[in-house]
C-alpha cells in the first residue's frame, strides 16, 4: 500500500538531503580555498535541524509537520543568506540555534504554566510598554522608527507586540462571557487595537500595522457575537486608510510606487524595480545558486529575500515557499479546530493567520501585486527578532496542537 512507501520519516529525509546537497555545493564552490569554519557551521545547521526534529517527535504528542515545514523554510533562507554574505549567514545560524531553544522554551512554558488565559491586562500593558520603549530608545532604520539597539543587537519590539495581540484576543474571547458583562467591552478592544495601529503608523511601520489589523479582523470575525462591530471595524479601517493616504506622505509614496514604479526608478521606486528585475531574470528555474546578482536588490537579506531566492532558485522555488506557507497555515487551522480548549484554539488560529498574512504582505509586495510594506518573511528572512519570534509563535502552535482540555476547564 501507498502508506507503507511514505513513512513519517520521508519528509525529514528530503529535508536532510536538501541540506547535504547545499553543503556539497558550497564545498565545490570553495574547493580552492577551503574554509573549515564554514563547514563546521553548515554541519552544525544540519545536526541542529535534524536533532530538533527528532527530539520533538519524542517530546511532543502533538503535530509533527509544522516544525518540519518551518525548518525547510529556514534552510532555504539560510542557504540564500549564506550565499550572499558568509558572515551574515553565520550570524543567521546563531540566531537559528537560539530560536530553536526559544521554541522549546515557549513550548514547555505554554504547556506547563496554566494561567495564560487570565492575563489579559498584562498583555495589554506589555504591548503599550513595548511601544513606549520603542519611542524612547528607537532609531530610524530604513525609514521606520521601529528598531531599538541593545548592545549592538537590533531588536524590533513590534515583533513581540504582534504575538501579544494574539494573546490579547485569545484571553479576551476565551473569557468572553465574563468580559461581556462590562458594557462595550468589545469596543474597548477595538479602541486598543486601533491605538496600536495608529502608533505603528507614527513609527511608519505600515507592514506591521496591516499585519496586526489582519490578525485582529480575522479573530474578531470568528468570535465576535456583536456582528455589526465587524462592519464598523472594516469601515473604520477603510476610512483611516484614506485619511492615512492623504495625511502621511510615506503612505502616498507606497501607493505611487506600486501603481507605477518605473517612473521613480532612480529614487523611491528603486527597491521594487530591482526586485522585479531579479524575479524576471530568474525565470522558472532560476539562474543557479551563485550565478545571479541578488546583491543588486536592496535589503536582499530581509524584506526582499523572496526576490533573491526567485532569482537564483527560480519561481518554482518561490511557489514552493508559498505552498509551504499554505500547508503550515492549513495545519495551524487544523490544530485550532481540533483543540477543545478555547484559549489555545484562538492562539492556534491567531498564529496561523499571522503566518499567512505576514507572508502574503511581503511576497505580494515584492512581486508588486500589492503596495510594498516592509516586513520580514517568517522563517526565511534574516533578522534576529524576526526569526526568534517566528519560532516563538511556532512553539505556541506546537503546544496548542496537544490536547489541553483535561488540564484547563472551560468556564462555559
Amino acid at each position: 500500500m501507498f502508506s507503507n512507501k511514505i513513512s513519517s520519516k520521508t519528509p525529514r529525509r528530503f529535508l536532510f538531503l536538501f541540506e547535504i546537497l547545499a553543503l556539497l555545493l558550497l564545498f565545490i564552490h570553495q574547493k580552492d580555498n577551503f574554509d573549515k569554519q564554514t563547514f563546521i557551521n553548515g554541519f552544525a545547521l544540519i545536526v541542529i535541524i535534524y536533532a530538533s526534529n527528532y527530539i520533538l517527535l519524542k517530546v511532543s504528542r502533538g503535530d509533527n509537520y509544522i516544525f518540519l515545514i518551518a525548518t525547510m523554510l529556514v534552510s532555504i533562507g539560510a542557504i540564500m543568506i549564506y550565499r550572499m554574505d558568509a558572515k551574515t549567514g553565520t550570524r543567521q545560524l546563531m540566531w537559528l540555534f537560539l530560536s530553536i531553544l526559544i521554541f522549546y522554551a515557549t513550548y514547555f512554558m505554554l504547556k506547563y504554566i496554566k494561567i495564560w488565559d487570565k492575563l489579559l491586562y498584562v498583555y495589554i500593558g506589555g504591548a503599550y510598554l513595548l511601544f513606549g520603549l520603542t519611542f524612547a530608545l528607537g532609531e530610524r532604520k530604513f525609514g521606520a522608527i521601529n528598531w531599538i539597539n541593545i548592545k549592538g543587537v537590533s531588536l524590533q519590539p513590534a515583533e513581540i507586540t504582534k504575538l501579544l495581540v494574539i494573546f490579547i484576543m485569545a484571553a479576551y474571547y476565551s473569557n468572553y462571557n465574563k468580559y461581556k458583562k462590562t458594557k462595550y467591552s468589545s469596543y474597548l478592544i477595538l479602541g486598543i487595537m486601533y491605538s496600536f495601529i495608529a502608533l505603528l503608523f507614527l513609527q511608519r511601520d505600515l507592514g506591521m500595522a496591516v499585519l496586526m489589523y489582519g490578525i485582529y479582523i480575522g479573530l474578531q470575525f470568528i468570535y465576535e457575537e456583536d456582528r455589526k462591530l465587524i462592519a464598523y471595524n472594516i469601515g473604520l479601517f477603510i476610512i483611516s486608510g484614506i485619511i492615512g493616504y492623504f495625511a502621511f506622505n510615506h503612505v502616498r509614496v507606497r501607493v505611487e510606487t506600486w501603481l507605477n514604479p518605473w517612473i521613480y526608478i532612480n529614487d523611491k521606486g528603486y527597491q521594487i524595480t530591482q526586485s522585479l528585475f531579479a524575479i524576471a531574470e530568474g525565470g522558472f528555474f532560476g539562474k543557479g545558486i551563485g550565478l545571479g546578482f541578488p546583491h543588486f536588490i536592496p535589503l536582499a537579506y530581509n524584506d526582499f529575500i523572496f526576490s533573491a531566492i526567485c532569482e537564483e532558485m527560480g519561481i518554482f522555488t518561490g511557489m514552493g515557499i508559498i505552498m509551504l506557507f499554505m500547508i503550515l497555515v492549513y495545519r495551524g487551522f487544523k490544530i485550532g479546530m481540533s483543540q477543545w480548549n478555547m484559549f489555545f484554539r484562538i492562539l492556534a488560529i491567531g498564529i496561523s493567520i499571522l503566518f499567512a498574512i505576514q507572508s502574503i504582505i511581503i511576497i505580494g509586495g515584492v512581486i508588486k501585486l500589492i503596495p510594498l510594506t516592509g516586513i520580514t518573511l517568517p522563517f526565511v528572512s534574516y533578522g534576529g527578532s524576526s526569526i526568534v519570534t517566528s519560532f516563538m509563535a511556532l512553539g505556541i502552535l506546537q503546544a496548542a496542537s496537544e490536547d489541553m482540555d483535561w488540564q484547563v476547564n472551560d468556564d462555559e
Partner: protein
C-alpha cells in the same frame, strides 16, 4: 449543552471561511507569479535600468547591422577598456534601428533583436550549460531588407518637413525604406537627450508605425473595394459639387462639380460627393468588414512597435459620420505603414503580405541562423477586383489628381489624399505602386500639416522614390 454545540459548529464554519480567504490569497500569489513570469518578465528584463544585462553585454561584441546589400550601418568596436557601439548614419535609422544605450535603454531593432545581436539563446537547461562551457564573445549580425541608398533618398526628400515615408515590395513584404521626420541623432545621444525628449515635435515617435492620421481621400481605395462588392450599386452619379447627408453638407475640392461620373471617375477625380452619397448604399458593415480585411482595426505583426489603425464601425454611426468615414475623415485613423500595405495588397492581386524589416540573422562565421520569408496575412479581395482598382489607380496618375507622380516610360498607379486636420493644417497623402504591369515598389507618403494637397505635396516625392528605387535596387 446543545447551545454549546451549535456555537462550535458556527465557529468552525467561520474558521473555514477565514482559512479559505487566506488560502485564496496565497493561491493568487502563485497565480500572479506565473502570470508575471510568462507575460511580463521579458519586458521587465529589457528595461534599461536592469544592471544584469549590462554585465552580460560588456563581454560580448554586439553584432553589426547591415542593409540588403551588405553595407554596414551599425557596428561595435572593442578595445581593451571599452566596448562601444558606432551608429555610422546617426539620424538616418533613428526609428528603424533605434539605439542601444546603457543610460537610455534600447529601442527599435536593437531592442527587438537584442538577444540575436548578443547571441543569447532562450534560457533552457541545454543552452545554459552550453553558454557556460563555451561563453560567447561575438554576437550575430542582422541583415535588413532596407536599401541604404533609397533610405538616404527618402530622408533627403523629407528633410525639413514632418511626416513619414514607407516603401516596400508589394509581393514579398520587404521594406526598402522607412523614414519618419523629425528624427534624432543616435550616434550621440548623451549630448542631445534633453533636447530630444523635450522637443514638441516628438522626434522619438516613429510616425511610420505609430503615427495615427486621418487618411483623407487615400481611404477611398478601401471604399472603392467595398463599392465593387456591393451588388446593384448604380454606377452613374451626377456630381453637383455638394452633397447633403442628413442635413450636413459635404463639399468637393472643386465646388463646380464633376457632372455625370462613374465609380472610376470618382476615384480618379477624388470626388467626395460620389462617395458620401454611395456609401449609404454600401452600408457601414460592408465598409467596415472591407476595412478589417485591410488590417484596419487589427494589430499588425511587425518588428517595430505598431499602433493599430482604427475605423470604429461597430459602434453606432450616424449617416453623416458614415459619409465622412467613406472619404477618410471623421473617426478613421491610419498609420502610414498600414497604408503602404493597402497599396501593396492592390498591387499584389488582392493578397496582403506581412511587412518585414529583417531578411536574415547571420552568425559570426557567416552561417545563416534564421531567414524571414514572405507570408500572406490577409486575403483582401479577388484578383479581378484588385485589377479593376489597379486600372482606376493608374488613371489617377495618368489623368486624375496624381499626375505629379507620373514617370516617363514607367506606368505608375496611385491615389492622392488631402486630409483635413481639426488641430491644424491638412495632411498631404500619396499611396501607390510602380511599375503598373509588374509592381516592384509600393509606397505611402504623408506630409504632416503641410497644408497642400496630396497631388502637389506627396505625389512628387513618391515619384522621385519610384525613379530612384527602380533604377538602383537589386530586386
Amino acid at each position: 449543552m446543545m447551545n454549546k454545540n451549535n456555537n462550535r459548529v458556527k465557529e468552525n464554519k467561520r474558521i473555514i471561511v477565514v482559512l479559505a480567504c487566506l488560502c485564496t490569497m496565497l493561491v493568487v500569489l502563485i497565480g500572479y507569479l506565473s502570470y508575471f513570469q510568462v507575460f511580463k518578465a521579458q519586458e521587465v528584463k529589457n528595461n534599461a535600468y536592469n544592471k544584469r544585462t549590462w554585465i552580460n553585454e560588456e563581454n560580448v561584441l554586439r553584432g553589426s547591422i547591415l542593409d540588403r546589400n551588405g553595407n554596414v550601418l551599425v557596428y561595435n568596436k572593442k578595445t581593451e577598456d571599452s566596448n562601444k557601439r558606432y551608429y555610422k548614419y546617426g539620424r538616418l535609422y533613428s526609428h528603424v534601428i533605434g539605439y542601444s544605450y546603457r543610460e537610455y535603454g534600447k529601442t527599435g531593432l536593437e531592442l527587438k533583436y537584442n538577444n540575436a545581436l548578443l547571441d543569447i539563446s532562450d534560457s533552457t537547461a541545454l543552452n545554459d550549460l552550453k553558454s557556460l562551457i563555451l561563453p560567447t564573445s561575438i554576437g550575430n549580425d542582422l541583415k535588413l531588407t532596407i536599401d541604404h541608398n533609397l533610405q538616404e533618398k527618402s530622408r533627403s526628400l523629407l528633410e525639413g518637413k514632418k511626416g513619414a515615408i514607407v516603401a516596400m515590395n508589394p509581393k514579398t513584404g520587404e521594406v526598402y525604406s522607412m523614414v519618419s521626420m523629425p528624427d534624432f541623432d543616435t550616434s550621440n545621444l548623451n549630448d542631445h537627450w534633453k533636447g530630444i525628449t523635450e522637443s514638441e515635435d516628438s522626434p522619438l515617435l516613429n510616425r511610420a508605425t505609430q503615427g495615427l492620421y486621418a487618411p483623407g481621400s487615400v481611404f477611398k481605395v478601401i471604399t472603392t473595394v467595398a463599392a465593387l462588392d456591393t451588388p446593384a450599386l448604380d454606377n452613374e452619379y451626377k456630381c453637383s459639387g455638394t452633397a447633403k447627408i442628413d442635413g450636413y453638407t459635404f463639399k468637393d475640392y472643386s465646388s463646380r462639380g464633376h457632372g455625370n461620373i462613374t465609380l472610376e471617375d470618382a476615384l480618379r477625380l477624388s470626388c467626395n460627393t460620389y462617395y458620401v452619397d454611395r456609401v449609404q448604399y454600401i452600408g457601414k458593415d460592408r465598409l467596415g468588414s472591407t476595412a478589417d480585411k485591410f488590417m484596419i482595426n487589427s494589430k499588425i505583426d511587425f518588428d517595430l512597435p505598431m499602433k493599430s489603425s482604427s475605423f470604429p464601425y461597430k459602434k453606432s454611426l450616424s449617416k453623416t459620420e458614415l459619409s465622412a468615414s467613406a472619404i477618410g475623415q471623421g473617426e478613421v485613423l491610419v498609420t502610414p505603414l498600414n497604408m503602404a500595405m493597402v497599396a501593396s495588397a492592390i498591387a499584389n492581386d488582392g493578397q496582403m503580405v506581412k511587412p518585414i524589416l529583417v531578411k536574415e540573422i547571420v552568425s559570426k562565421n557567416n552561417r545563416i541562423l534564421e531567414s524571414y520569408s514572405t507570408e500572406v496575412i490577409s486575403d483582401v479581395t479577388s484578383s479581378i477586383k484588385a485589377n479593376q482598382i489597379k486600372d482606376m489607380m493608374l488613371k489617377v496618375v495618368e489623368s486624375g489628381t496624381g499626375t505629379n507622380a507620373k514617370i516617363k516610360n514607367v506606368k505608375v498607379a496611385g491615389k492622392t489624399g488631402t486630409a483635413e486636420n481639426p488641430s491644424g493644417k491638412s495632411h498631404s497623402w500619396f499611396i501607390g505602386f510602380a511599375p503598373y504591369d509588374d509592381p516592384k515598389i509600393a509606397i505611402a507618403v504623408i506630409l504632416e500639416e503641410e497644408g497642400v494637397t496630396g497631388g502637389t505635396g506627396a505625389a512628387p516625392i513618391a515619384r522621385d522614390i519610384f525613379i530612384h528605387g527602380l533604377n538602383n535596387i537589386d530586386f
